[in-house]
C-alpha cells in the first residue's frame, strides 16, 4: 500500500536552477558517492557501447574498413526491402504476444502457489520449476527429444504408441517449427521473473493479510488481488520488463533447435536475423539498425505494460 503512495513524490522533478542544482549536488554527495562505482562501469560498458551502436546504425560498417556514413539507408532497406525482416518481425511479435503474457501469469501463479508450502518443500518446488533456466543450455535436451529420426524421444514414443508410422522431421517441417519453439520458450520462461516473484512474496508484510481478513477479504483470489499484488507491485514491474526483454529477444532456442537460417525462415526472429547480419554477413551497421528497431519496439511495449500494471489492485 505504501508503495503506491511513495511512487508519486519520486516522480516530481526537483527544481532545476543553476546554483540550486550545484547546491543540491553538494548536499547529496553521499548518494553520488554510493552510486559512483556502478555508474562509472555502467557508462563505460553499457551506455557508451549502446550509443556507438546507434551511431553505427547510420553507417555501412563491415568491421574491416572504417564506418562510412550512409544516413537512413539501413533503415530504409530494413523496413521497405527486407522480406525476411518482415517474417522475423511477425514471428517475434507472435512470441511476444503468446509467450510474454502466458509465462508472466504462469510465473506469478506458480510463485504464489509455491509460497503456500513449508520452506523445505518450497525450495524443492522452486528448483523443479526453475530447472530449465538454471543450466545455461538445458534446452539442448530438446534436441534429443525432437531428433528427426527414430532415435528421438518424441518420435520413439509416438512410434511405439502407433500414432505415427514414420518418424517426423520436427525441426525441418515448416508448420511444426513455430508451435514447437513457442512450447520450448514457455517451458524456459519460468526464469528471472519467477524468482523475483518468489523473493517478493517473502517480503510481503504478514500483518497485512490479517488486517485484510478483518476487513472482510473472503477468499484467496481477493487476498491475491487486494493484498498480495499491490504489496509486490515493484516486483511485478520488474517481472514485466524481464518478460518483455526475454520474449522479444528469443533467438538461442530457435538457432539451437531449428538452425539459422531455419527452413524457409519459419523460425526466424528479429534477433536471429540480427545475428545473421552481425556475425555471418558482417554488416554491423545493418545489424545495429535491427537492434535499434527492436529496442524501440520493446520500449513502446514496456510503456504500455507499465501503464497497465499501475492499475493492479485498484
Amino acid at each position: 500500500m505504501s508503495v503506491a503512495v511513495r511512487t508519486k513524490p519520486a516522480r516530481q522533478k526537483p527544481a532545476v536552477h543553476n546554483d540550486s542544482l550545484l547546491h543540491q549536488i553538494r548536499k547529496n554527495k553521499a548518494s553520488y558517492l554510493l552510486m559512483a562505482p556502478y555508474f562509472i562501469l555502467f557508462f563505460l560498458f553499457t551506455v557508451l557501447p549502446v550509443g556507438m551502436s546507434i551511431y553505427l546504425s547510420f553507417n555501412y560498417f563491415n568491421m574491416l574498413e572504417a564506418p562510412r556514413w550512409i544516413g537512413w539507408a539501413n533503415y530504409v532497406k530494413l523496413l521497405l526491402e527486407d522480406d525476411i525482416f518482415i517474417i522475423s518481425l511477425r514471428n517475434t511479435l507472435l512470441f511476444a504476444v503468446i509467450t510474454g503474457p502466458v509465462s508472466y501469469l504462469l510465473c506469478l501463479l506458480f510463485a504464489w502457489i509455491i509460497n503456500e508450502f513449508t520452506p523445505k518443500v518450497r525450495s524443492l518446488l522452486t528448483l523443479v520449476f526453475y530447472a530449465p533456466s538454471i543450466c545455461g543450455n538445458a534446452y539442448m535436451i530438446w534436441n534429443l527429444i525432437l531428433t528427426g529420426d527414430r532415435y528421438g524421444y518424441l518420435n520413439g514414443i509416438l512410434l511405439r504408441l502407433g500414432l505415427i508410422n514414420e518418424p517426423i522431421l520436427w525441426m525441418q517441417t515448416e508448420r511444426y517449427i513455430m508451435p514447437v519453439l513457442i512450447v520450448v520458450q514457455l517451458w524456459l520462461s519460468l526464469g528471472t521473473g519467477f524468482l523475483a516473484f518468489i523473493a517478493g512474496l517473502q517480503t510481503v508484510d504478514k500483518g497485512m493479510y490479517e488486517a485484510a481478513a478483518i476487513d472482510g477479504v473472503k477468499n484467496r483470489w481477493q487476498e491475491l488481488w487486494f493484498v498480495t499484488l499491490p504489496a509486490m507491485r515493484a516486483q511485478l514491474m520488474f517481472g514485466a520488463v524481464m518478460q518483455i526483454t526475454q520474449s522479444f529477444a528469443v533467438a538461442d532456442i530457435s538457432i539451437a533447435l531449428a538452425g539459422n537460417p531455419s527452413v524457409n525462415y519459419a523460425g526466424a526472429t528479429v534477433v536471429t536475423h540480427l545475428l545473421d547480419y552481425g556475425s555471418t554477413r558482417l554488416d554491423m551497421g545493418y545489424a545495429s539498425a535491427i537492434a535499434t528497431i527492436l529496442f524501440l519496439l520493446m520500449v513502446g511495449t514496456n510503456k504500455l505494460v507499465q501503464h497497465v500494471l499501475r492499475r493492479v489492485g485498484e
Partner: protein, 329 residues
C-alpha cells in the same frame, strides 16, 4: 486500522463483502471488528497456527493438477541429465530411447577424469579461473549494484530519474551489437585478455540494479529515519539496515549472477589457455564426437550440478529470512 485500509475496503466491489451498516457507532464498529479478529485467531489456532482462508476444493484440485503436469514437464530435462550421465554408452544410443537408466555406471565420469588428466594446462587451473571469474563477477555486482540502488530508491537528488531510466532502457538493447563497441572499449582500457575483461562488465549489468532498487523502494522510510537520528551515516544505513532487510533480493540476484558468470566461456576476451574457465575446457572435451558422448553426458551433469547446488543454498536462506524478519511497519 488505518484510514487507507478502510478506504480500500469501501472500494471493493464484491457483494460478498461484509460492510458495516451506516448507523453503527464507532464503538460498536470497533467491537464488531474485535469479534471478527478473535474469530480469525481462533480459526488460526485450530489450523495449527497456519492462517488459511477458505478456498474451493475444486479450484484447489485444478491448480494442483495443473502444477503437477507442468512440474513433470519442467523437471524432465533434469531427470534426463542425471540418467544420461549414469548410462553406459550402449544405452545412450539405444532404440527405442529410454529415459531411465537400467544399468547405472560411473564409467562416464571415470572416462571424463582420464580425459581431464590429458590436458596440458592442469585442470585445477581451470577450476581456479572459474572460481575467480564466477565469484568475483557475482560478489562485485551484488555489492556495487546494491550500493547504487539504495540512493536511487530512497534519496532525492538531481538526475535520479534519468539514471534509473538509462538502466532500465539498457536492458532492452540487444547485447549482440554492443559486443563490438564493448570489445573496443575493453581493449582501449588495456584489460583485454585478463579476468577484468569478464568481471568488470559483469559488475555493471543493468538487471541487478533494477531488481535491488525495486525491493529497496518497498522498505519503510522510518527504518532509515530512526537510524539517522541515532547518528548513522549513509554507508552504515546501507550496510546495516538496508541490506539485511532485502536479503531475499540480493540472494536472488546472486543466483542470477552466478549462473550468468558460470555459463561464461570467456571466448572473446581470454586468449591465454591459462586464463580460460572450466566451462571452456569441459566443452573442448565433449567436442570429440560420438566416442565422447559418455564423457559429454558427465560434463552436462557437472555443468548443471554446480549452479543447482548454489541455487539450493541461496533459496533455502531466502526461505529462512522470511521467518525471522519482522522489521516492517
Amino acid at each position: 486500522m488505518t484510514e487507507k485500509a478502510e478506504k480500500k475496503t469501501a472500494k471493493i466491489p464484491f457483494p460478498a463483502f461484509r460492510r458495516e451498516p451506516a448507523e453503527m457507532t464507532p464503538e460498536e464498529e470497533e467491537a464488531a471488528r474485535q469479534k471478527r479478529l478473535e474469530k480469525i485467531h481462533r480459526k488460526m489456532k485450530r489450523r495449527g497456527g497456519k492462517k488459511k482462508l477458505n478456498r474451493s476444493t475444486a479450484g484447489n484440485a485444478v491448480l494442483f493438477i495443473l502444477m503437477g503436469i507442468c512440474g513433470v514437464f519442467m523437471v524432465l530435462p533434469l531427470v534426463m541429465i542425471i540418467n544420461n550421465a549414469l548410462k553406459p554408452l550402449d544405452e545412450i544410443y539405444q532404440f527405442p530411447p529410454r529415459i531411465f537408466v537400467r544399468n547405472p555406471t560411473l564409467t562416464n565420469f571415470s572416462d571424463l577424469f582420464v580425459l581431464m588428466n590429458e590436458s596440458w594446462v592442469p585442470f585445477s587451473r581451470y577450476i581456479l579461473n572459474t572460481i575467480i571469474i564466477t565469484l568475483g563477477g557475482m560478489a562485485g555486482h551484488v555489492i556495487i549494484a546494491s550500493m547504487a540502488a539504495y540512493p536511487l530508491a530512497k534519496h532525492k537528488f538531481p538526475g535520479k530519474k534519468l539514471l534509473f531510466s538509462l538502466v532500465v532502457l539498457s536492458l532492452m538493447f540487444s547485447w549482440t551489437v554492443t559486443q563490438i563497441p564493448q570489445y573496443l572499449i575493453i581493449s582501449w582500457l588495456g584489460i583485454n585478455n585478463t579476468y577484468g575483461a569478464l568481471v568488470l562488465p559483469a559488475w555493471s549489468f543493468g538487471m541487478g540494479l533494477y531488481l535491488m532498487k525495486q525491493f529497496m523502494e518497498q522498505l519503510p522510510d522510518s527504518l532509515m529515519e530512526s537510524a539517522r537520528l541515532q547518528g548513522a551515516n549513509e554507508w552504515q544505513i546501507f550496510w546495516r539496515i538496508i541490506m539485511p532487510n532485502v536479503k531475499p533480493a540480493w540472494l536472488t540476484l546472486a543466483i542470477f549472477q552466478f549462473q550468468q558468470m558460470w555459463g561464461n566461456t570467456g571466448g572473446m576476451f581470454l586468449r591465454n589457455e591459462e586464463l580460460k574457465p572450466l566451462q571452456y575446457a569441459l566443452q573442448q572435451i565433449t567436442s570429440g564426437g560420438v566416442s565422447r558422448a559418455g564423457a559429454g553426458a558427465a560434463v552436462t551433469f557437472i555443468i548443471a550440478a554446480i549452479p543447482i547446488i548454489f541455487f539450493l543454498i541461496c533459496q533455502s536462506s531466502i526461505m529462512e529470512t522470511m521467518t525471522t524478519s519482522g522489521m516492517k511497519d
